[in-house]
């Protein structure tokens, strides 16, 4: 949990870089939608991997979610995933890290939905 302390839920610098590429006002919205779909599917994968005690699948799913999260600027999710990906500890620790990822992913998803709504309002203003 401590690994994510002090990090932004959404990194302004990453969002600014992505927004700079957004010429038609839909690019970032589309990225948000794609990310939310990816995160939902990866979280299910992580959950299933923990249930099945499948360490390899768990690391792969954490790598995937971490990479996508870093691309969109969801730094706490990225950091929590990285910790799980690199962890060599036992099942209990993996479960605790998984809970941390799920928590951060839900917070990030709420922030992304809010940012998406803000963009939509700005676009229509």
């Amino acid at each position: 949990m401590t690994v994510t302390a002090g990090m932004p839920v959404l990194d302004d610098a990453v969002l600014a870089d992505l927004l700079a590429l957004d010429e038609d006002g839909t690019f970032l919205q589309d990225l948000f939608t794609t990310y939310l779909e990816q995160a939902e599917s990866a979280l299910k994968d992580i959950h299933d991997a923990v249930e099945d005690f499948d360490a390899g699948r768990l690391r792969r799913a954490a790598h995937y979610l971490g990479g996508a999260s870093a691309n969109i600027g969801a730094m706490k999710v990225a950091a929590a995933c990285r910790e799980l990906e690199l962890a060599r500890s036992g099942e209990a620790a993996a479960k605790a890290l998984t809970t941390a990822i799920e928590h951060e992913a839900h917070v990030a998803a709420a922030a992304i939905r809010a940012a998406g709504a803000h963009l939509a309002i700005a676009e229509n203003a």
Binding site: L21, T34, Y64, G67, A70, N71, I72, A78
Partner: protein
Amino acid sequence: MLARRATHAPPALPIAEKAIARARTILVVDDDRLVHAIVGRIMAGFDGVLLYANDGKKALAMTRVVRPDLVLTDALLPGMDGRELSRTIKTDPLTSHTTVMVMTALYKGARYKQEAFSKFLVDAYVDKPLNLQTLRPAIELALAAPSGGGDVKRVRSVAAQVAL
């Protein structure tokens, strides 16, 4: 004299084939669709063709058919690892001219990079998360320097400069 020159001239290609031969092609390989979207947007206005694959085996099959100028691949991929994809591409005479640039969040250490160049024959290496300001110049430079010959080192050093 004129007649002799004519006989030694290469056979003329039909116009369409010439256009295809000239179009630069980049194959983007990542299981993260965000990367496809971001690279596509970064390369907006690129005078060439962008293709996408989401795993290593598909990427290899596409590389053999399309013969892209550049394969920009993630390191950790389903099916076939991006670094293994690089070695396979670079050791097959059919595809060895292709420049391979690997993106990675995992293999960032100097030892991994050295291994990528020497063992997996990667031409250029970029870290993830992608730097949206420097990726396009790095791609353009990798495309400008032919792969598989003496220029490989130049691509690496230029890519390293861009990464700074």
